[in-house]
């Protein structure tokens, strides 16, 4: 239960951050991605600011024997840069470029009640499911 409350608090902090940064506005995101157009630097600022916090602190947190509310750290295990990683990143990049939406902001933006956001999130879930099926079959 403590883990659920802690996760909710972290998610809320994250959500406030996304909204304050206006990363929940696809126009701001595509404004950054549109290098040849009316360039909007906001996303670069957001990333730089986020990394200013996470880059120094992640190694410090990971030095501890275990997290505060859990038995161990659940970290990704793969280390090699492989074709699957790059292919996935490219596919994600195309979708992100088309809509200016990635998972975090899309879910946060559900609060707007926009049918388009709901449709995007539904399609995102479907895409995850389809990819999961594909990956299991190719094993």
């Amino acid at each position: 239960m403590k883990q659920v409350i802690a996760a909710f608090f972290c998610g809320a902090l994250f959500g406030v951050g996304l909204a304050a940064a206006e990363m929940t506005d696809p126009a701001r995101v595509t404004g950054f991605l549109d290098l040849a157009g009316d360039w909007d630097m906001t996303l670069a600022l957001v990333m730089a600011s986020a990394l200013t916090v996470s880059v120094p602190l992640f190694p410090l947190v990971l030095k501890r024997p275990h997290p505060l509310l859990a038995q161990k750290f659940a970290l990704p295990v793969k280390s090699a840069v492989d074709r699957q990683l790059l292919a996935g990143a490219m596919i994600f990049g195309i979708g992100w470029g088309l809509a200016g939406l990635c998972p975090g902001p899309a879910i946060a933006a559900l609060i707007s009640g926009s049918p388009g956001i709901f449709a995007f999130v539904a399609a995102m879930i479907a895409g995850q499911w389809l990819a999961g099926r594909l990956m299991r079959r190719s094993r």
């Binding site: 802690a6 996760a7 040849a36 009316d38 909007d40 992640f58 659940a74 992100w96 956001i117």
Partner: protein, 140 residues
Amino acid sequence: MSTPNLIGGIVGGALIGTASVLLLALNGRIAGVSGILGGLLTAGTPGERGWRAGFLAGLVAGAGLYAGLSGRFPMTLQAQGLPLLAAGLLVGAGTRIGGGCTSGHGVCGLARRSARSLAATLTFLATAMLTVFLTRHLLS
């Protein structure tokens, strides 16, 4: 849109970074939204589902809190109809195949000094920029 959101961007980014550090320190988990969502859908136990649902609910609540306090929530869709749905499918599939998104690979992965996350982040950034260039400047 060329007027950048300077204060909001810097403060918002710091909150995102802080939230990620806290989720790691408290729950020992990576604040990668695509993984959290995907994990929620495939999780077998309440233990795996609970914190994920909590985080995602928090995302919505946090955005709502900010919108309520500030009185505004600008949100202009950049695609409609089929292209929007296609984009959703691609984001879902791509993040599942590539094992992460802007939060997981970008904010957390780079903080972990992960070569995988660096490669992924550069790749999806470049691809997204190319996509916007093609759709806004070449094909329209």
